[in-house]
């Protein structure tokens, strides 16, 4: 097997997520790469929940297109996925004795019934074990190493005692036994094992990776306000910051969170907050303050469907305008967007480094599906990263301290309260070099120019932007964030099909990397910009800085674009 996608669907609260996690863990133990994808209802219990796991012996770039195997815990899951049950796919479904009342037969689809509710209720006398019965059946059907599954059970439930481990192992065995006694496997899907001697693997979600990256960068202060789908970043940090003698605050609202962060950063900390669109809206005034008072800080925005409360648990990339342009006045900022889970770690380190170097707020845009998804990734080496700290003030007897000294780079040395002879007033008012308020035309011009001068050459100061594919292209793709994974996969498909297609993978999205985009575009007959929003926010900000003609591809139904869909689009516009 090189690539297999299993989707598990059912009602939220039925253990869909935990059984999916167990399959993923077991597969990673068997040496396979995994990438998971989840959708949740906005409610805590009830509503349709889905967990999809893609396994591969090769690198996985996206959540993939559709699935090979669907495991339906109830009628709703079956109905929602009916149209995706194409010939060649497999259905495992709860029947008889469960929510699905009729036997299912679909042309070309291999259907295995599994009375998971009935087995859990009658044989095991524990309805909650239904998800483990399904896990047992799936591992039997698709050759998920039973040894890995058992190991996973032991490591997940070991702390709860042998009895709990025993109950779960029994449930797994009951599901496997039903398959052995009632079904003859007729589909071709097998997961098996892979050799992966060279890879030291961890499984981590995008949100946890954001926390890990921040810790590697030296962040020891986070203030948050709970918000879907970003809360996991703070949950991760709340576990580890105290162990590192750091500080986690749950503030009264997002305004207080960013105020805490900017206060702590002024006092000398590397500090951050994590939020989603509605929270970032509230933080705009303070982000302008951080630009004005030149205070380094990092904000992670795990984007969700907007505007307003929007679609709290759904996927969208529609905060780019706000990240780049939000708030009043002319305020320099940096916006970065990682493409996958390992990239989240690297980009978070880069975000802190850039915030420190340029003394500006840096926004990192991930999204709900990247934040929630887990991937098996190469374990990072925390000591392998270059860490940049802000330029600090050292008194040299050269007159009073000029916190906002005008100089060629625009970057002035920063003191921290406690430093001798370094006192100044951080301020949102326009100010002289010493930080005293001033409002003359000359002052506002020179200080505005200073603040923007810092970022004038940022593109040249960062590593070159990766280009996928080479030579002259009939079509070039430019995208951002987690859509880049889909772009990679569909561009590979197009190249394999003999098409002349390439793609640019920017991680710096604001200031717009104009040079790289212009150079890339010069080698392409047409440019396509796929993104998950209605207005084409990346396309618009590229247009604002170049005269390129861009073809937009906007998908905004609350789900990512699949590689198949994008491949079709490529064929259409090329």
């Amino acid at each position: 097997m090189s690539d297999l996608i299993i989707r598990i669907g059912g009602e939220g609260g039925e253990g869909i997520i935990s059984s999916g996690d167990m399959v993923a863990q077991a597969a990673a133990r068997s040496g396979l790469n995994i990438l998971t994808f989840k959708t949740f209802p906005a409610e805590i219990r009830g509503g349709y929940a889905m967990y999809q796991i893609r396994f591969s012996t090769d690198e996985i770039k996206s959540e993939g297109s559709g699935f090979d195997v669907m495991c339906a815990f109830n009628q709703e899951a079956l109905d929602k996925n009916r149209s995706a049950l194409k010939p060649g796919t497999v259905l495992v479904y709860d029947y008889p004795g469960g929510d699905i009342k009729e036997e299912v037969n679909i042309d070309g689809v291999t259907c295995y019934n599994l009375p998971m509710s009935q087995i859990a209720k009658k044989e095991l006398e524990m309805y909650r074990a239904k998800n483990m019965v399904a896990l047992g059946a799936l591992s039997e059907l698709f050759d998920i190493s039973s040894e890995s599954v058992r190991d996973t059970i032991h490591s997940k439930f070991g702390k709860k005692g042998e009895k709990v481990v025993g109950i779960n192992l029994n449930a797994i065995e009951a599901g496997a036994k039903y398959v052995r006694e009632n079904h003859k496997k007729t589909d071709p899907f097998k997961m098996g094992k892979a050799e992966r001697a060279d890879k030291d693997v961890i499984i981590i979600s995008g949100n946890n990776a954001a926390g890990l990256g921040a810790l590697i960068a030296g962040c020891r202060f986070l203030s948050c306000y709970p918000i879907t789908p970003a809360t996991e970043v703070a949950i991760f940090m709340s576990k580890y910051l105290p162990k590192l003698d750091g500080t986690l605050v749950q503030a009264e609202d997002e305004i207080a969170s960013i105020a805490n962060v900017i206060g702590a950063a002024f006092a000398g900390q590397k500090a951050m907050t994590s939020t989603s669109g509605p929270g970032l809206s509230l933080m705009q005034e303070f982000l302008g303050y951080a630009s004005m008072a030149e205070i380094p800080c990092v904000v992670v925005d795990v984007q969700r469907g907007g505007p307003s409360t929007g679609l709290p648990t759904k996927h969208e990339q529609s905060d780019l305008f706000m990240a780049a342009h939000g708030g009043h006045g002319d305020a320099p900022r940096i916006v970065l967007s990682p493409e996958n889970v390992p990239d989240v770690i690297d980009i978070m380190v880069q975000a802190f480094n850039l915030a420190e170097k340029y003394q500006v707020p840096v926004l990192v845009l991930t999204d709900g599906s990247l934040g929630n998804r887990t991937e098996s990734i190469q374990a990072p080496d925390p000591n392998s990263y270059e860490i940049i700290d802000r330029k600090r003030y050292a008194p040299n007897g050269d007159g009073p301290y000029k916190r906002y000294e005008l100089n060629e780079s625009g970057i002035s040395a920063m003191s921290h309260p406690g430093d001798a002879d370094g006192a100044y007033i951080a301020t949102g008012l326009e100010h002289f070099e010493t930080s005293a308020p001033g409002y003359t035309p000359e002052l506002h011009v020179s200080m505005s120019d200073k603040r923007f001068r810092k970022l004038e050459n940022i593109e040249d100061e960062l590593p070159p932007i990766e280009v996928q594919g080479d030579g002259e292209a009939d079509l070039g793709l430019i995208s951002w964030g987690s859509t880049l994974g889909t772009v990679r996969e569909s561009v590979d498909m197009a190249i394999a099909a003999g098409m002349k297609v390439k793609a640019l993978h920017p991680k710096l999205v604001w200031p717009v990397p104009v040079k790289a985009i212009t150079e890339f575009a010069s080698g392409c007959k047409k440019i396509l910009v796929p993104e998950i929003n209605k207005q084409g926010q990346l396309a618009e900000i590229i247009r604002s800085k170049t005269d390129l003609h861009l073809i937009q591809y906007n998908v905004y139904g609350g789900l990512p674009i699949t590689p198949d869909e994008l491949f079709e689009k490529i064929k259409e516009v090329i």
Binding site: E252, G263, A379, P380, P417, G418, D419, D421, A423
Partner: protein, 290 residues
């Protein structure tokens, strides 16, 4: 609390920045009293941060030589909390007005108070918005006539800052009058010395825009809390805050209690989990192995 290495006088805390308040503004008295309190405590200039929001009184940090943070309208408290948590060795004193603290910033007060955040909060209460040239504030009397309320403010009740802070668990709550600099300096001093959150409401009249709550009015109406007031008794404190005798405004320390502070609680938590600045990040990575 650390102290200055070279003895400092009150004037040593004043910066060269020109004070921009109207002549006769109550805030001059507050500034002098604050300098006096700093000098009595010998607060080191480099280790002290004056934080403020937006408004006339929020300009105060510019007139001090200490570090300062002139933040956003209504946001001085969460900024001050961030600074203190970012470096607990600093002495953080937050300044502002009644509109800044109890209207736009009113949502932060309960939380900074109930966490017993290690800050001193000094509000210069003039019952009016002065910087925007005279609008009704949350502490203005109901019916107050001002530029946006020419027929009188349609409010039923005004905010009582002392009762507000007491209700959310304030551990040091006091009131004074800027026309009494000696008392003000003493109370600010005690507020800074207090462990945890301390609140000082300073009646600081606005001569320019408030023709009701004037110096003359307060000169006659302020009265020290009765000698038998027990400032360890929350019910008495609330009663004195809410029900002063007709025509009287009490000054003095209404309430004082010793409770664990936010920094103490966080330190205890960190200690409990074995906080270690050199904690190996590889342990976190190991926890994510399949």
């Amino acid at each position: 609390m650390t102290t200055a290495t070279v003895p400092l006088k009150a004037k040593d805390y004043r910066s060269e920045v020109k004070v921009v308040w109207c002549p006769g503004c109550g805030d001059y008295g507050v500034l002098n009293s604050v300098q006096k309190a700093f000098a009595e405590l010998q607060l080191p200039i480099n280790n002290t941060v004056a934080v403020s929001g937006i408004g006339c009184s929020s300009r105060l940090p510019y007139f001090l030589k200490t570090y300062g943070f002139h933040s956003l309208h209504g946001r001085s408290l969460p900024v001050g909390a961030g600074i203190k948590l970012g470096n607990p060795d600093l002495e953080v004193v937050v300044f502002g007005g009644d509109g800044d603290g109890f209207s736009i910033g009113g949502g932060h007060v309960p939380h900074v108070v109930r966490k017993n955040t290690d800050l001193t909060y000094v509000v210069m209460d003039n019952h009016i918005y002065g910087l925007t040239k005279g609008q009704v504030s949350p502490t203005s009397s109901p019916g107050f006539v001002a530029t946006t309320t020419p027929y009188g403010a349609p409010d039923t009740t005004s905010v009582n800052p002392l009762a507000y802070v007491l209700t959310f668990g304030g551990t040091f709550v006091a009131q004074c009058f800027s026309g009494n600099p000696k008392q003000t300096a003493e109370i600010v001093k005690q507020a800074i010395q207090h462990k945890g959150f301390s609140y000082v409401n300073i009646i600081s009249p606005c001569l320019t825009f408030n023709k009701i709550d004037t110096f003359d009015f307060y000169k006659d109406s302020v009265a020290e809390l009765p000698e038998d007031h027990d400032n360890g008794d929350l019910v008495q404190a609330l009663d004195k805050a809410l029900n002063p005798p007709a025509g009287k405004t009490y000054t003095g320390i209404f309430y004082k209690a010793s409770k664990p502070t936010l920094i103490e609680n966080l330190r205890a938590m960190n200690k409990k989990v074995g906080a270690d600045k050199n904690y190996d990040l590889n342990k976190i990575i190991d926890a994510h192995r399949p």
